[in-house]
Symmetry: C2
Subunit: 364 residues, 2 copies
């Protein structure tokens, strides 16, 4: 058990192995150890240098830190790992959680919004979270300033889950330290990154996919155009989850993001009853199948590709990101074969994976 966890940690903490690559390696090689063993060979077929595998002692140290924090791992595909999150293509291979994991078993709804939201919007979010909690819904948010904070506070008594961008022992923003510590005790805090990780800008979109992926639906309360909250909403939509938004006056610049979402098809919600009406048809815990890029990656094993096929794939790739779908279609090869070759290029450090299931080849 411990051995397998160590292998999983080494795999996912290896630079250049992201959740999609991780999942494909496991699907192809059956166990994390077998995947680790296969990497050098795969990378050489991809005509690149094999990535430096994350060291065993690093993994052991991470496990020790997690235990010292009173936290635990949830492993994709095993035990308590939330099944709604497992549905998404780039599901985190490992979650590190501290608090009441039973909250994951109840209907989850995400609430996100602006860090600099108006006082009225924060009050509204707190009340909505409270009302949702009274109906048995667990509120998921990001432990950020503004709407996130209000949502957690409103739902603290009934159940709330905070997903953070850094490690569990890092408190960001600093004024939320007490809140995060309280949620260790009375709620649940979820991190994808190992303890000690300071959150960086690039971590937030990853954090956002977990918020959306855990939840039956995402409610956006007051968000500026092009804000992180809208990214979370977009991800939720791509995952086939419900996207809901609280409207505002066109005269209020802080309402533009939400009004835009509603124009684009999000459901207008004004209270907990509206939210419940939207999520109820899906049932408690059941989620719709993902559509869009999340549905595009198959994990079936494929036959060994030959040299001509490798050539074809490399010729189709370039510095501009293209959808994997399109490469499959243009190559005339099976999706499994294409993905195996992309995996090899990835492990050889030559492939970049982009949002929306796109890939590009690094210039030689």
């Amino acid at each position: 058990m411990q051995q397998e966890l160590v292998a999983r940690i080494r795999l996912i903490r290896t630079a250049s192995i992201g959740p999609v690559t991780y999942r494909q390696l496991l699907a192809r090689f059956g166990s994390p150890q077998a995947a680790l063993d296969a990497i050098p060979d795969l990378a050489s077929r991809g005509r690149g240098r094999a990535p430096a595998i994350y060291a065993e002692h690093g993994a052991l140290k991470e496990i020790e830190k997690v235990e010292r924090l009173g936290a635990r791992y949830l492993v994709l595909g095993q035990g308590l790992y939330p099944s709604a999150l497992a549905e998404i293509d780039d599901a985190p291979p490992l979650l590190i959680v501290k608090g009441d994991t039973r909250l994951l078993d109840r209907p989850l709804v995400a609430m996100v919004g602006a860090r600099n939201a108006s006082a009225a919007a924060c009050r509204f979010a707190r009340q909505l979270a409270h009302d949702l909690g009274r109906e048995g819904v667990v509120v998921v948010s990001g432990l950020a300033r503004g709407i996130d904070t209000a949502a957690h506070d409103g739902a603290l008594a009934s159940g709330t889950i905070g997903v953070i961008a850094g490690g569990l022992d890092v408190f960001y923003p600093p004024e939320n330290e007490e809140r995060q510590r309280r949620m260790f005790e009375e709620g649940l805090v979820v991190a994808e990154m190992p303890p000690g990780t300071e959150p960086r800008a690039r971590h937030f979109p990853y954090r956002n996919r977990i918020i959306a992926g855990l939840s039956l639906g995402t409610v956006v309360v007051e968000a500026a155009p092009r804000s992180g909250s809208l990214i979370t909403a977009r991800l939720a939509g791509e995952m086939g989850r419900e996207v809901m938004a609280v409207p505002g006056s066109p005269l209020d610049p802080r309402a533009q993001g939400c009004n835009g979402l509603i124009r684009d098809g999000a459901t207008l919600v004004q209270n907990a009853a509206d939210v419940l009406e939207v999520i109820r048809p899906i049932g408690s815990g059941m989620v719709a199948s993902p559509r869009g890029p999340y549905a595009a990656v198959s994990t079936e094993p494929a036959a060994e590709p030959d040299e001509g096929e490798r050539r074809t794939i490399e010729d189709l790739l370039g510095p501009s990101p293209v959808p994997v779908d399109e490469i499959v279609r243009l190559s005339g090869l099976s999706a499994g074969a294409v993905q195996l070759m992309l995996l090899e290029l990835d492990l050889a450090g030559r492939l970049d994976r982009h949002a929306g299931g796109k890939v590009s080849l690094q210039p030689a």
Copy 2:
């Protein structure tokens, strides 16, 4: 020409002959005079007393008043009568208009909303009307207080049409007299009722159908639940026209009506560009075919019904309003035959016509 107009006025000003009955009479008898002549016979077949036909001298006096006002008639099915309005089943047989009738030839968009709207919403409406005007759109509204007034004012320079519930020489609310007089000169004012008619509560829904029926779409700005503006929006939707609403904060009670419309499928609009995007696909002057109750009434002539069929129809009717569709279906008779019998009952003073194409029979 004058003779035919007199006959039309006598027909529609006859108590118990509404626009639907008028249209069916014309379709069946070809000319307004032939319809007038047929009424006693039809009413006796409907086993009731024939309605007192509106007197010729009354019609002549009305024409004189209209001329003295510098106004004119637009006749359904003739000349300048706006074709979008002619599409609806209960189109007014006659409109009395004063002002620039060329405005009817441009793309029309209705703007409606609360009489007691907030100052911010009125300012918003004025700006939206102004911006729509700059894009060549003519703004239609109801010359009421609040949003209507703001919409007319914003569009006065570019072109605006006021539809009023009473006669053209009646000014309601009184403080809008100067505005209405200005619109006689610089815009267009439309009335269904003859001069001298004081508007009553029951006139406003009729007025609202003209606002919706003239327009490619209706924009609702700040409306309370169960308000007249929402009736206009519902009518627009039933006519197959675009329904648009300006959102507001859930904390603002005056936003409830619009937010509810958006939840129910109206398009959220925040500015003139949003409105233009919605109405453009329909084209200028072209309107979608009506759906719902407006599509239910056929005007084809039908064969003479026999006694057994009359019996069937009377048995199917009762004091509760039922859709004409349903009577057609349950009777197994043709739509034309059913409508002819309903027409007879109507002229016999025994039938009531209700919203949504429903009818009921008066208790004996």
